[in-house]
Symmetry: C2
Subunit: 391 residues, 2 copies
């Protein structure tokens, strides 16, 4: 489902946030590096490895900030991502979405190319299909069994008899049972950090219990993989866990700020927009960054502080107090003072530029073809980093 | 902001909805043609021209269903769209988003290439910038002045003195004042068709009043452009209007169904998904089509019938009664019976396929690189039509 349908345009040598055409996705590299160092430091202190999720950035250049040597380990959300990162040298990849049966052959091709690929399943049917495929003796991915730690989405409970059945079917079919994987997706419902240490412990306990159950049944299950950005940052003890996955921490966003994981100043991505109109009687400033540039994600809608379609900053990235993109059409954003606040609408003439911090970095970045990279303060665009997309 | 970052994969000759990799965007051509014929018939009856908005499809192939001769007139939402459609032979293009000052030079390049391009403004500042640019005597786009007919977004009121000032500044600078344009965006807040005939009349009356005001001030203002998909279908009289714009009508979606403009059976786009898991105790079926495939658009959230992230159909496009995608992660959809309904969760084993009708066709299609085209009943994919993106 990939097509080349867009035309590359070269970046000018003196490219700047003052001149690049808007809307444009901006990435502050200094913040990316700071966010990476923070989580690395925390996980180093807990003595556990990090397997970052690259579904947020979908960029080889960003992934190389995580791994300067460029080989991983990484987590991906699609096989297209696995192929893209493999083509860029990443060799240790976990595909952390339940495997669709028709994707087995494609996953095997990556293994045949020398990629250490693990796939995820949580049903006996998937195990049987993998075992049947393996009967030809050719390359197979290793398999992680998805564990449900909080009722959020997929996975088997650590106590579910299906857990051992799945592992037995795989082993009997000659497929490697790498271990278990869980994701505390309910941690996204936390606010202001409350309950996140407990969610991290619940995630750890469920994964370790499942791994121990497999080991009691004769499976080595060396991998015990946990993670979500909130729990990764709040975990106090990860005994028994071998790796932590997290994705959005590289960029952070307003949802993560509302959950209590980061400061607004940690948010490394923003959308550069230009003012195209005013409606003074309505208290509106119109820009050229609508939902096509911001995404339709309204992840802060049920937070105590609803950020609309994003927080408005000046072109240098300093937020205007209580000024948000309150509504959006496809190619129009409507800037307004947050309802009920004491914010003051800034003076922004036609042609002025702003940067908008997104609710959800994964969704906003997916609307763009490339990052316009700046490095801390200053408006010079040092590089344009492409993103991949598709499945 | 365009980059070639994806790899084309050829479509198999026997491509079918049973085999193509999921998630995949499906377009039913029979429904597209039926939807086009319906609006054309209505507007022919009212004696007014149609200038369809191609921001929904962003596809030359779809636009050629509207205009087999392939020249337009069309409406676009970005200059990248204008360039893409111009490269495909479309020669009469209205760029219907308020012009950002830094895009003037790019718009002029299209005119210099022979494209009849109109741009949209609603401030004296924009008129002054255009007049200043025109002083070099080279090609300039014609200008439409945006009229506010319902307080939805941008535009000047027909009674605003700025209307004539803008036109005077343009004329004095040697820029052609093509006329006026309005969009009844508030019509999207209608339900079950109520108030749409009145909204269409309000749109008409505002545009005609503004044009007459310009004519009284000595401007020819030949173009009187109105439109939104809801008002286009419900207008009863368009006296004084020269063209109607509408976009999503080619595909329709669940928002348009909730507004009362189409039947569910008219919706021509869907997302093909594969079942990857079950949570029987929760009443969930998990698929591989999450918000990355559906978009984050929750446009029916405040409708009497909330469709979640979309209505679930069998692989032939027949809806299961009251079965929706109730929640979505990046690459997971959670299918569930609509809360409070009498729907029954269908039996869908691991590997089964479904099609999901979207809330908002413009947003869902933007998540995909191409349409997998079917023609009415049957699962054969007759073509893969690329989409463009970017700004």
């Amino acid at each position: 489902m990939n097509q080349q349908t867009v035309l590359a345009r070269p970046m000018a040598k003196d490219a700047s946030l003052d001149r690049v055409e808007t809307p444009a996705l901006v990435l502050d590299l200094a913040k990316v590096d700071r966010n990476i160092a923070r989580l690395r430091g925390h996980l180093d202190g807990l003595g556990v490895a990090c397997r970052p999720h690259v579904k947020t950035s979908k960029s080889l250049d960003v992934a190389r900030r995580l791994f300067p040597e460029g080989t991983g380990p990484i987590t991906v959300s699609t096989l297209a991502e696995a192929e893209y990162f493999a083509s860029g040298g990443f060799a240790d990849i976990t595909y952390a979405v339940g495997l669709s049966l028709d994707k087995i052959a494609r996953a095997r091709r990556l293994v045949a190319q020398g990629i250490a690929l693990s796939v995820l399943i949580d049903t006996v049917e998937q195990a049987q299909a993998l075992a049947a495929a393996a009967s030809d003796g050719a390359a197979m991915p290793a398999v992680l069994i998805e564990i449900d730690c909080d009722g959020h989405r997929g996975g088997v409970l650590p106590t579910d008899p299906a857990l051992v059945t799945i592992a037995d079917v795989l082993r009997d079919g000659g497929v490697i049972v790498a271990g278990v994987l869980t994701h505390a997706g309910e941690s996204y419902n936390a606010r202001m950090g409350e309950g996140l240490a407990e969610a991290a412990e619940g995630e750890r306990a469920a994964a370790v219990a499942a791994a121990e159950r497999l080991r009691s049944a004769g499976h080595a299950a060396p991998v015990v993989s946990v993670g979500s950005t909130p729990t990764a940052h709040f975990a106090r003890d990860l005994t028994g866990v071998t790796e932590v996955r997290a994705g959005v921490f590289t960029f952070f966003d307003l949802v993560m700020h509302g959950i209590g994981v980061c400061a607004v100043d940690d948010i490394a991505v923003s959308v550069l927009a230009t003012v195209i109109g005013h409606r003074p009687k309505k208290g509106w400033i119109l820009t050229d960054a609508g939902w096509m540039a911001m995404s339709r994600d309204r992840g802060t809608q049920r937070h105590p502080v609803d950020q609309g379609y994003g927080v408005v900053c000046d072109v240098d990235g300093q937020p205007f107090a209580d000024v948000i993109v309150e509504d959006a059409s496809q190619e129009h954003g409507i800037i307004k003072v947050r309802p009920g606040s004491n914010g003051i609408l800034p003076q922004l003439p036609i042609g002025a530029r702003v940067r908008v911090l997104p609710n959800h970095a994964c969704a906003t970045c997916a609307q763009h073809e490339a990052y316009h990279v700046v490095d801390g303060p200053g408006r010079a665009i040092m590089a344009q980093w492409p993103r991949m997309r598709g499945w």
